[in-house]
């Protein structure tokens, strides 16, 4: 009868199952330890600023945590508001110039006569907005708003070209610029005038 080694009688048999279980337990323990360290060390993040909100493209839930505007930001928002009100009306009138052309009169000359004054309105808005002094936190937003006004002015100039050759393509090109501008307006509104639009 072969002798049985004392160690093989005393030590338990360690199979693959036991090794796998040990690995899983170790991994779970490491995870729990990591989570505990992370949570106890976690500091609540400060609410993002208006400028950060504008340029960072915040995720859905973060919008509700925006901090209030500073006095300088409020002053800028108040100064821009009358310009913004006029720009919105001018943008809507420009859209209707195109709508009426397509739906009603198909008269390129009427498009020109309606849109020409709006070109001047947008250019006036560019000059007046350019004269504002935004706080540093809103420099990006200010630049974007000026770009939007520039896009509206470009859209208006493009629309008027239909009077030269009657091609609808001018309206399509103008619309593309107008859409980009109106999107930028909304982005800024979200930051500067959070009460601008209400549930309808």
């Amino acid at each position: 009868m072969p002798a049985t080694a004392p160690s093989s009688r005393l030590s338990p048999r360690i199979g693959l199952k036991q090794i796998a279980l040990a690995i899983v337990i170790l991994a779970l323990s490491a995870f729990v330890l990591y989570a505990a360290v992370r949570e106890t060390g976690k500091q609540p993040s400060a609410a993002p600023s208006a400028g950060a909100a504008f340029s960072a493209g915040l995720a859905m839930g973060e919008h509700s945590r925006l901090r209030a505007l500073t006095p300088e930001e409020e002053a800028y928002a108040a100064a821009l508001w009358p310009i913004h009100s006029e720009v919105k009306l001018a943008a809507m009138r420009m859209t209707f110039a195109g709508l009426n052309y397509k739906i009603e009169h198909q008269d390129p000359a009427k498009v020109k006569s309606t849109v020409q004054p709006l070109t001047e309105a947008f250019q006036s808005a560019v000059r007046r907005t350019g004269g504002l002094q935004p706080p540093e936190s809103l420099q990006d937003a200010h630049a974007t708003y000026l770009d939007a006004l520039g896009l509206y002015a470009e859209a208006a100039r493009e629309m008027i070209k239909i009077a030269d050759d009657g091609r609808d393509q001018h309206l399509v090109a103008a619309h593309e610029r107008s859409e980009r501008a109106s999107h930028a307006l909304l982005q800024l509104s979200d930051v500067l005038w959070p009460g601008e639009y209400k549930p309808n």
């Binding site: 859905m60 928002a77 009306l89 609808d168 979200d190 959070p194 209400k198 309808n200």
Partner: protein, 336 residues
């Protein structure tokens, strides 16, 4: 001769019977219909939504003992085969511009195309969108549906244009102050929303509706001017099933309880209470007094047993809800 008369009479009688049997039923088309919650306005004072439901502290009246409500933005989805072609019609088109989230205290927003995927519908399968009116939360996702033809009323466009060109700044204003639009006639139509409508017109995918208009067999637009906005319109859908006719009322039917209890809801300066009540009456007539079939855009009890037509519901993306109203033969349930 007598025999001939008898034979002739029998032949004529037989032909009459055959003709009657061959006559088509009044309406054979069948549609599947769902309701989808595109987003929810949270914590809205009840009195701002329905003046007759204003909160009175300590009141025991069920009409005045609720302070704040959450209001869904509901979109109707109607699907059916018409002359061998798949038709998917949306009643209103929700919104998608994320900038509105904080402004309007919204939550549970989900992109409408993603919500339609849960119903087995892709965005490019949507063939028609009938907007009850052009406010930002009802005509905001038009560009997400490239093949859809927009149906919007001429009166709606005329109403907006009248307002923005009116020679008084308080009437032409889209907002009277940064704090809100105070429901001016042009309020609720941001330039971005008008651009959505214009994009459809420029693309040759718009029908400018004047008065009543048949969209598809069994699907008909009825004008409800000044019941919410200048060019508000209703969409009646004869489902061809035991459910009967549904009437999607957009914001004219902002509150289903308002229709039931004859209370105005969601007042606007472009609206007239009398016109809203006449539109309620229209639903009673179109549904043969089965007002449970009046589909509201913002009813707070949507997707619960308290609004029975919407009670077959489940939770979808980001906590938004959906309800199955009726299924055409061959359509499987999408309820989770």
């Amino acid at each position: 001769m007598k025999v001939w008369e008898v034979v002739k009479g029998a032949a004529l009688a037989g032909a009459a019977v055959a003709a009657t049997m061959a006559a088509p039923s009044t309406f054979a088309q069948q549609y599947s219909v769902w309701l989808v919650e595109n987003s929810r306005f949270m914590n809205v004072p009840y009195g701002a939504f329905m003046p007759d439901r204003a909160f009175v502290p300590g009141s025991t009246s069920k009409f005045n003992n609720i302070n704040l409500i959450d209001i869904p933005v509901n979109v109707g989805v109607i699907k059916g085969m018409v002359n061998g072609k798949l038709e998917v019609v949306l009643a209103d088109a929700g919104w998608k511009q994320q900038d509105y989230l904080k402004m309007t205290g919204s939550a549970h927003w989900a992109a409408l195309p993603d919500q339609l995927k849960l119903l087995g519908i892709s965005a490019d399968q949507v063939t028609k969108i009938v907007v009850g009116h052009g406010h930002w939360d009802h005509a905001g996702s038009l560009s997400d549906f490239p093949n859809a033809v927009l149906y919007i009323s001429k009166k709606e466009l005329d109403g907006i244009q009248w307002a923005i060109n009116y020679p008084h700044p308080r009437i032409s204003a889209t907002n009277i102050s940064p704090g809100g639009c105070a429901r001016t006639p042009a309020c609720g139509y941001p330039p971005k929303t008008l651009d959505e409508v214009y994009g459809k017109v420029l693309g040759g995918k718009a029908v400018i509706v004047e008065g009543e208009h048949q969209v598809l067999p069994g699907i008909r637009i009825y004008p409800a001017y000044h019941s919410h906005t200048a060019g508000a319109q209703l969409l009646a859908v004869d489902t061809g099933s035991s459910v009967g006719t549904l009437v999607f009322g957009s914001d004219t039917y902002s509150s289903w309880q308002g229709i039931r209890d004859w209370m105005m809801a969601n007042p606007q300066s472009s609206a007239d209470t009398a016109q809203q009540f006449l539109a309620y009456e229209m639903c009673y007539k179109l549904t043969n007094n089965n007002i449970g079939n009046c589909i509201s855009a913002h009813e707070p009890t949507s997707y619960t047993k308290d609004y029975p037509i919407t009670s077959n519901s489940w939770v979808g993306i980001n906590g938004s809800r959906m309800a199955e109203i009726t299924l055409a033969p061959g359509e499987s349930s999408k309820k989770k």
